[in-house]
Structure formats: C-alpha cells, structure tokens
C-alpha cells in the first residue's frame, strides 16, 4: 500500500518537473553556449547562475541559455581545440579570443555556419547595418570567397600607447620639455647622469618598457617602421594608402634607426635588462619599487593611473608622468605607430551542427543592436547605469566608478560582476573608458587624437586566400624568430649593425621575406578594391 503511494507520488513529481521544464523553456528554445575569455571567465557566475548581461540578453531575445564550457579551465584555446576534436557538437555557439584563424580554418572545413547568406537575407539586421557603415571592417573579416564565419569584436577608440615622460624629473633638473629626438636624447642623458631621484647613485634608467617587443618599437623615433599594426607578428608595411608594401625589418631606414638605438643602449639610455626582464614587471619595478624609470611608451589610461597610485606617492610624492607627442629626428615630424587594431581576432560562431541556428543568430545579432551594444559595453541598465548621458551614451553610476577603482579596474569589475566587455561579437564603445581615465590621460588621448599627432599608415587587417594564407603561416613565425634574435643582438651590441647587415638581409630573404611581402601585396590589392 505504502509502496504504491510512493510510486504514484514519485510519478507525479516527475510529471510536474517535466511540465515545469516545458513551460520554463522560452519560445525561442534553448541555446547551448561554449564561450570563455581571459583564461578564467565563462558566461556563468561561480554559483552557476548566468552573468547579468547574458541573462538580460537571453530574456530580450526570448531564449534559454545553457553554459556548457568548463568552468575551471585555465587555457581557453585548449578548451576550444578539444571542442574541435568533438566536431563542435556540444553547443550552438562557440567563441573566445585570438581564435580568428581557427574560425577561418574550421569554417572552411565545414564546422561553422557561413553568416553571409543570413546577412544578405536580413536575418542579421543589426550586424548588417554595422557592416554597411564600416566597409573596412567588412574587408577585414569577409574572406576572399565571400564567406564569413564569425561575428567579431570591433574595438573603439583609436589611441592606444603614448609616450610618457617623468616631468617631475624635468622640473627637478630644470630642463625644458624636449621637442625633438635630439633634445630628448639630451634630456635622457641628464636623467642618467644628474641623479634626479636624489639617492646619490647612478641607477636611473632613462628609457624602459614592460614588453621588449614594444621596446623595439622605439626605433620609430628615428623614422623607421617596425610593426604593421597592433599585432607584433605583422611586420610588412606600406608608407601610405595604396603604397607599395615592404618588410619593415630589412629596410634601410630600419638599419639607420638600429644604429642609433644600439648607441643609446651602449650609453645606458635604454634599460640594460630590456630583453631579460620578466614581461609586464618593468613599470612596477622601476617606478613603484625603485623610482629609477624615466620614460616609456605605454597604454594611455592604465599607465596614467600611476600618477594616482597611493603606494607610489607615499615613496615619491612628486611623481608625475605626462603624455608627450612623438618626437621627430633631423627635422622630420615624429609619428606614432601604435593604435588600436580595427578588428580583434576575437568573436563567436554558430556550429554547423546546431539545431537552433535561427535562435543562435538572433541572439548574436542582438549584441550589435543599440540596446545590446549598451548592455555589453556598460552592463545591464538599472544595475551599472540608469540613463543615457547628453552624448547619447550610458553614464556609469558613481558607486560603480568607486567600487571598480578599488577592485582592480573597470575591465575586471565589468567582467566579473556583469559579464560585460567580454570579447564576443560586438562593437565596443570608447565612452565606457573615458569616465575612469585619469584627467592627465584624457588630455593625452585628446592630444593623440588631434591633428597635432601624425599616425603611421597601419597595415590593414586583411583576409587572405588559401594560397596566400599558406605562405603567411609557413613563413611568419620562423622569419620573425630570426629577425628578432638578430635585431636584439644588434641592439645590445653583440653584433655589429654595419658589418652584419648584408648577411642579415640575405638570410631574411632566404627565409622568405620577399615571398611574404608578395602575399601581403596581393591581399592588399584586393583590400583596396573592396574598400573603394
């Protein structure tokens, strides 16, 4: 009797759960998402609930989301590759950072849905509107066969790195602000010799950088091109739009600049440990800890915050770094080479095995719409912001600005608390950055964004044909490794620039530098045609 009662009760429970499940489902169905970023975040909170941005998006689009990514993985690319080995059958939407090449490769092998037919047929209205308004983004992501597999992350705000110089040291030594490279050299010599940090030791390091590859970009001071765009791997450049492409690292201007930088290194004007220091430790070490650093070339907002660093100001109360426009050599106008890249190799895709393609596409398209853009940039309305400001962009609540400043920065705050600013397919909004950029840095941004600062012509982000891509993949890594080692030896004085230059260029050609330039040139010709 009792057993029968229990079984009946059990059956009733099961029925209720099923019914609940059926009603709990949204009209658009369920979307499984495998998306991670920064090697630590997925779309769920630690308590398994969805992050606010994604919960809000799901509600607006009318779908239920299920997070199928590994919550504790530490290598996002590896997780993605494991999914590749499963033919991407576990989820409808996949994505992450630095996956563009894989999106293209697996897309052509049949793993992902080609988005172009849907763009053309109107199923992706917001994304289509964006592409129509931005032909250079279109040219950067749609491959030569006219297919597009991913919705990309498009950054906003051109200014990236700027030159920062210790103006408290300038003041202390009674020096005028330098206006040319020649004057800058005199200033750096004074930094080195006249003991501006006042400790009686000749321990000052006039120029330093957190990343040695960025340090090599100092060669631009003497007029040489170094990198094509934000990515340190692209070293094929052109001098102006429509110009002939060439390899920056085998150019005569590069040789002349190398000699100057080698001289600076020898004379102690460049950090002697530029290439051996652990990455991303120089600013903390040489400013906050030792107060020996003079000048660097760094991201404008995050570095500007050193002016407000309490620990640093306790030890060095006068500490002040200010933004300077790039200096020119021998009367030429200086130029800046680093700007935010047009399209990041991040974003997300729809699996070809998805049974819910329409819902997946609608979900992804929402992020490119106005509401979606505001939400994924600033967080959910009502939680991190209430209304739009006079310039039409959301305004953060003051408590959000306070809390984020205390907890490791706005980016981290938004990633953790909201799931906003994740590198999925969306168009960033620089206005999210402006409110927490320190005033000095804002002045720097405005300076670099004005006509006063000239930017080098950046190698556009382009798509390659299969043949061109093979050449690029085959040559790039090996050639870059050789170039880097040789250039480092020349800068540090282990190799002579004049004596070794011919052999260096010959070896670069042997490793394929000219074939590489040819591949870029043909892709560039196509790019020019499609953006004109």
């Amino acid at each position: 009797m009792k057993l029968r009662l229990i079984t009946r009760f059990g059956a009733l429970c099961v029925l209720l759960v099923l019914v609940q499940g059926a009603f709990g489902q949204k009209a658009g169905g369920e979307l499984k998402i495998h998306y991670r970023w920064n090697n630590q975040f997925s779309i769920s909170q630690p308590d398994k609930s969805l992050k606010p941005v994604f919960a809000f998006a799901a509600q607006k689009v009318g779908v239920t989301l299920k997070d199928v990514a590994n919550p504790v993985a530490t290598n996002d690319t590896q997780e993605f590759q494991l999914q590749a080995a499963e033919q991407f059958s576990a989820a409808d939407i996949y994505g992450g950072s630095s996956l563009a090449e894989y999106f293209y490769q697996y897309g052509t092998e049949g793993a992902f849905v080609d988005l172009m037919p849907y763009v053309k047929s109107g199923k992706l209205p917001n994304f289509k509107k964006f592409l129509d308004a931005n032909p250079d983004v279109y040219a950067a992501i749609v491959n030569p066969e006219g297919k597009l597999y991913h919705m990309p992350y498009v950054p906003d705000g051109g200014v990236a790195r700027v030159y920062y110089l210790r103006t408290d040291w300038l003041k202390k030594l009674g020096l005028a602000a330098p206006k040319t490279v020649e004057e800058l050299e005199k200033v750096l010599v004074a930094f080195r010799d006249k003991d501006p940090n006042g400790n009686g030791k000749k321990d000052e390091i006039p120029y330093f950088n957190d990343k040695y590859r960025e340090g090599v970009r100092l060669l631009t001071l003497w007029g040489a091109r170094v990198y094509g765009n934000d990515n340190y791997g692209v070293r094929v450049v052109a001098d102006q739009k429509g110009g002939k492409m060439y390899h920056a690292w085998t150019d005569a201007k590069f040789k002349a600049a190398l000699k100057e930088m080698a001289r600076w290194y020898k004379e102690g004007l460049v950090d002697q440990q530029l290439f051996t220091r652990k990455e991303n430790t120089a600013r903390k070490e040489l400013w906050t800890k030792l107060n020996v650093g003079g000048m660097t070339h760094e991201w404008v907002a995050s570095t500007g915050n050193y002016n407000l660093d309490k620990d640093l100001l306790k030890v060095v109360p006068d500490f002040k770094i200010e933004v300077f426009a790039p200096w020119g050599y021998k009367g030429a106008q200086g130029f800046e080479e680093h700007a935010r890249v047009l399209v990041k190799p991040d974003g997300w895709v729809v699996s070809a095995q998805s049974k819910n393609k329409d819902a997946a596409l609608a979900f992804m398209d929402w992020f490119y719409g106005e509401e979606g853009r505001n939400t994924t940039n600033f967080g959910v309305q009502g939680q991190t912001w209430d209304k739009l400001g006079p310039n039409g962009h959301p305004v953060f609540k003051p408590e959000v600005l306070d809390e984020s400043a205390k907890s490791g920065g706005m980016n981290r705050y938004l990633w953790e608390k909201q799931g906003a600013q994740a590198p999925l397919g969306y168009f960033q909004d620089y206005e999210y950055e402006r409110p927490w950029t320190p005033e000095l840095a804002v002045k720097g941004v405005d300076l670099y964004a004005s006509k006063a600062v000239k930017y080098a012509y950046l190698t556009p982000v382009m798509t390659f044909t299969k043949a061109e891509q093979e050449v690029v993949s085959e040559i790039t890594d090996v050639l870059n490794a050789f170039l880097e080692e040789s250039v480092i030896n020349m800068i540090t004085g282990k190799a002579e620039v004049d004596a070794g230059w011919a052999a260096y260029v010959a070896k670069a050609k042997e490793l394929g530098s000219e074939r590489l330039v040819a591949a870029y040139q043909s892709a560039y010709a196509r790019y020019l045609k499609s953006t004109n």
Binding site: Q81, A85, E101, Q273, P345, S473, V478, L479, E485, I488
Partner: protein, 315 residues
C-alpha cells in the same frame, strides 16, 4: 612441448593469480594511457586538423620531418638539437656522478641525527616547483641580485674592481647555470637510489677488506663502488635514454631572447613555433617523435654496450 607450454601458462596463472591481479590495474593503465595514445603518432605524417580528426586529415608522408629538418626553420631545429644534446651531456658528466658521490659520503658518515639532517635538507630542493626555482635563480642573477653583490663584496675585500655581469644575457653562461640548478634540485633525491643500494652491501665485505688492510678510500673503491655497479649501470642507461628530454619547463622559465643561441632546446623551439597562436600539430608531433626515436635508439645502444661490458643490463 606445446602441451607443456600451455599447461605452464595456465598453471602459472592458477598458482600466482594474486600477483597478476595486483599487476592488472597497472597493465590496464599502461595500455590505455601509454600504448593507445601511440596511435596519435600518425599525426606526425599528416596535415592534421583537430576538427577533421586523425581519420579525416590528409596524409603527407615525411613532409613534416622534411620541413622540420630541412625547411626554413631547419637552422633553428639543428641549433635546438645541438643545445639539447650539449645540456644533456653536461648534465650527465657533472650531474650523474654527484648523487653517487653524495650517497657514498652519506654511507661513510656515522649514522646519527647529523647525517639524517643533512640528508633531509639535501632532498628538500626537489620538492620546490620549477617555477619557484626559476624565480629564485633569476632574482639572484639579476644585475643587482645576490650573486653580483656577493662577488663584488668578495673581490672588494682583495681590492679587485668588478663590473657587474648580467648573467642571463650572456649565451655562454646559460648551460652552466641550467645544469647547476638541476644538480642543486635533484642531487639529493637522486642519491636515495644509490644510498639504498649501498646500504644493501653486506658489512662482512667491508670487514674482510679492513682486515686485509684496505684504507677508507680503498674500501670505497673496491667494495662500495663495485657493489652498486649494477645500480649505476641501470641508472645510466635510463639517463642516456632521456638525453633529448631536457626539461622544457625549466628552460622556458629561465630563457630569454638574448640567449636563445645556447638556451633554445627542442621543446622550447617547437613551443615557439606555435606562439603566434596557430599550432601546426603535424610539425610538433614530428618534433616530439624525432625526440623519442633518438632516445629509443640511444637506450638500445647503451643497453647493448652494458651487456657486453658487464653482466648488468636492462634486458
């Protein structure tokens, strides 16, 4: 003959089934985790895509090996190979005898708290992770690190001027630093095997030697060392087999672009080939397979030599 053999196996199983059951989990693990993955070696002969899988990726024969050894990156490959062999040989020449000497010293020392204490302290570095060790070493060898400060002070006592050396920027020093770090980390732990072997030598042999008038050094030379010779030979064969397995982790943590010419080893070379984010699985597998094949050949050769030269060999 056949009948006896069959009865032999069945009888063997019946008699000693407990031992076979004990060995069963390990056998299963070996088959699943060591032998089954060997199927993946075929990737070395393919243009592999994880999406297409092993079955779907095109076969390219020896293309990957040809690219590895004669393609554009060949000069880096051969340099990495040279560095790997050099570091291993230094490690072998200096790092192999030291645990033996250490074990002999422990054996000759009087048993007691002091010996136990020294032994324990010598094992401890083995427990520290590679990351911590690399950080310690790098911090000590910086321009204003402990090493330079100490040498400066020492030479200053004699009035000698010393210009601080950036140890980690000179290619010539890296291999020595690497090997010394390895010795510091592993010598104590490696000496355990030899110490255990020494303890197993019958004390009567030492007695007999002492009665015959042998000094301590002579006792070590004629009793201790021959006594652990089988252990030494086995450990040597294993060590030689690992000649191409120079620790990827430690090199990666300790090297930097200015010393690639002596610091780049096979593991780090293949790692950097994939550093642009786009990994060539076929090439990496070919590189690892080359690594393993050479190690395999070396083990066979060394074993044969050991068998000819002594009674001890792995098989």
């Amino acid at each position: 003959m056949g009948m006896t053999a069959k009865k032999g196996i069945a009888g063997e199983l019946r008699e000693n089934w407990q031992l076979y059951v004990l060995a069963l989990p390990l056998a299963v693990w070996l088959i699943l985790y060591a032998y089954k993955p060997l199927i993946g070696l075929v990737i070395a002969f393919q243009k592999f895509s994880p999406f297409k899988g092993i079955a779907g990726s095109p076969f390219v024969g020896l293309d990957n090996f040809q690219r590895l050894m004669a393609g554009p990156s060949a000069y880096m490959f051969w340099r990495a190979l040279k560095n790997t062999v050099q570091i291993s040989l230094y490690g072998l020449a200096f790092g192999f005898p030291i645990p033996i000497i250490l074990a002999i010293l422990f054996n000759e020392a009087r048993e007691g708290v002091f010996r136990k204490g020294v032994q324990t302290v010598s094992y401890l570095p083995n427990l520290i992770s590679e990351v911590t060790i690399a950080s310690i070493v790098l911090a000590m060898l910086q321009l204003n690190g402990l090493a330079n400060v100490a040498i400066e002070g020492l030479l200053g006592v004699f009035g000698v001027d010393y210009k601080r050396i950036s140890w980690m920027s000179e290619p010539a020093f890296f291999q020595g630093i690497y090997v010394l770090t390895g010795i510091w980390k592993n010598a104590g732990f490696d000496s355990i095997v030899f110490f255990a072997a020494l303890v197993g030598i019958s004390p009567t042999l030492y007695e007999a030697a002492r009665i015959d008038g042998a000094s301590r050094i002579q006792r070590i030379r004629y009793v201790s060392i021959p006594g652990i010779m089988p252990t030494i030979i086995i450990m040597l064969i294993i060590r030689v087999g690992n000649v191409l397995n120079v620790g990827f982790e430690r090199v990666l943590l300790m090297y930097n672009p200015t010393i690639y010419s002596t610091a780049d080893v096979l593991g780090t070379f293949t790692f950097r080939l994939g550093s642009s984010g786009f990994i060539d699985y076929g090439l990496s597998t070919a590189s690892s397979m080359f690594n393993s094949l050479v190690g395999f050949a070396l083990v066979i050769v060394t074993n044969r030599i050991a068998r000819k030269a002594s009674e001890t060999s792995l098989w």
